[in-house]
């Protein structure tokens, strides 16, 4: 009860946070029909900047980190990515009105990861002064890639069974595609630069100070997009909306649990547990949709994109992040 009151208090407090304020503001002005537009070129550059910032920082810190500590959380990430896709596909398969491959693609997107949500969580943790190991954001691909591969493999297996029309897709080519996607390759590049060069000055004068501001613009864009894609959601069964609302919370809670185990076993930090939960709760907004469109062409994009952009992402940002921070404070007594 106390915990609930505490959490509700925090939730209201978090909505005061400019990060979520920009998200809600974006939804609001889109709903009111504002013609405000942030150019595509700016959006692409902001995403690049955030990923480089996260990557460089991670790379610089990994240099003197004990990477063995990373093993357990990385394993947890793989398990979560695989588990979310299997669970989601199974649930959708129970609903007759949902086409099999649409369900698999949607579960794949929610198993994959959003860099924007991750960045927002990092800023909010910082505002609450909750620390985490610098390599935590590098868990991203450990969840993202297995989730996408599994979804594509499942969908193709299903198509072959059903109609003999599925094409064989090698999982190695999906791994390569994921590593080459703009999001993952920007983060890996950042990590490499942080590891092998001395980017302190450029990091301190550019990537770090601009991070918070660019993130605010990104949140605004996510909010506007969430609203403007809601009509796609209306074209498909309401079950997608239900899944997109409940899924992130459950996925995050499962990840929180696994993170807690890692905390007990290898001393995984409280902030790390929160980030792991947010990574699990997030869904892939940048590279996931085109990857799925290309690899599962029979799946209806309106289903998975509507669910993810219009419901899943706002829920991950505005509900899950505050929820897991509050939970961490209670559980770890911060």
């Amino acid at each position: 009860m106390d915990f609930l009151l505490d959490f509700l208090g925090r939730l209201v407090g978090q909505l005061q946070s400019p990060t979520l304020g920009f998200l809600l503001g974006g939804m609001l002005i889109a709903a009111l029909g504002s013609k405000l537009q942030i150019p595509q070129a700016i959006y692409q550059f902001i995403v690049f900047m955030l990923l480089m910032k996260i990557g460089i920082k991670g790379g610089m810190e990994i240099r003197d980190a004990n990477l063995l500590e990373m093993a357990l959380p990385a394993l947890a990430s793989v398990i979560l990515g695989v588990g979310i896709v299997l669970g989601g596909s199974f649930l959708f398969s129970l609903i007759p009105s949902v086409r099999r491959e649409d369900g698999i693609a949607t579960a794949g997107l929610f198993g994959a990861v959003s860099a924007s949500t991750l960045a927002a969580a990092m800023v909010l943790l910082e505002e609450e002064s909750i620390g985490f190991e610098a390599w935590v954001p590098a868990l991203y691909p450990f969840m993202d890639i297995p989730a996408l591969i599994l979804a594509i493999v499942l969908a193709n297996k299903h198509l072959k069974q059903q109609e003999g029309s599925g094409t064989t897709v090698s999982s190695w080519s999906i791994v390569k595609d994921s590593l080459r996607s703009s999001a993952v390759s920007a983060m890996l590049l950042g990590i490499a630069l942080g590891l092998f060069t001395n980017p302190e000055r450029v990091y301190d004068s550019f990537y770090d100070p601009l991070f918070r501001g660019f993130l605010s613009v990104l949140m605004l864009i996510m909010g506007m997009e969430a609203w403007s894609r809601i009509h796609e959601l209306k074209r498909v069964a309401q079950w997608y909306a239900v899944y997109a609302f409940v899924g992130p919370i459950l996925h995050g809670l499962a990840a929180f649990g696994l993170g807690y185990i890692a905390h007990v076993l290898v001393g995984f930090s409280p902030g790390g547990v929160v980030l792991l939960a947010v990574i699990a709760a997030s869904n892939s907004d940048i590279s996931g949709p085109p990857t799925l469109r290309g690899a599962i062409p029979t799946a209806n994009p309106s289903a998975y994109i509507g669910a993810s952009t219009s419901v899943g992402t706002p829920v991950a940002l505005a509900i899950c992040i505050p929820l897991f921070i509050a939970l961490a404070k209670a559980v770890f007594d911060l």
Binding site: Y43, M222, M224, D285, R293
Partner: protein
Amino acid sequence: MTLHKAIKVVVITEIIISEQVCHTIESCGATGYTVVAAGGKGDRNVRTISDRASVVEEFRNIKIECIVKTHDTAQLILESVAEKWFRNYSGIAYLEEVEILRSDKF
């Protein structure tokens, strides 16, 4: 100079498969093609040409035009593209008659 009859094949489809469609077109015997960014509305969806930031950018259209010398090649391209791509991706395709200067170029 005399002009020669030729056929222009036009394909409008999703930008995400543009490279593969161009490959299909070339494999049917085209010597070149021209592409233009496009938006539009059809059975499936509305696609924009605005520069507005959009998280799922790759859902836009592309218009591919390709001039070939014979109606047969044109029809082959049309049928190959439709057969191979239009079951799973949105798109339309059509032919137009054109007149060209030098027929050795195509």
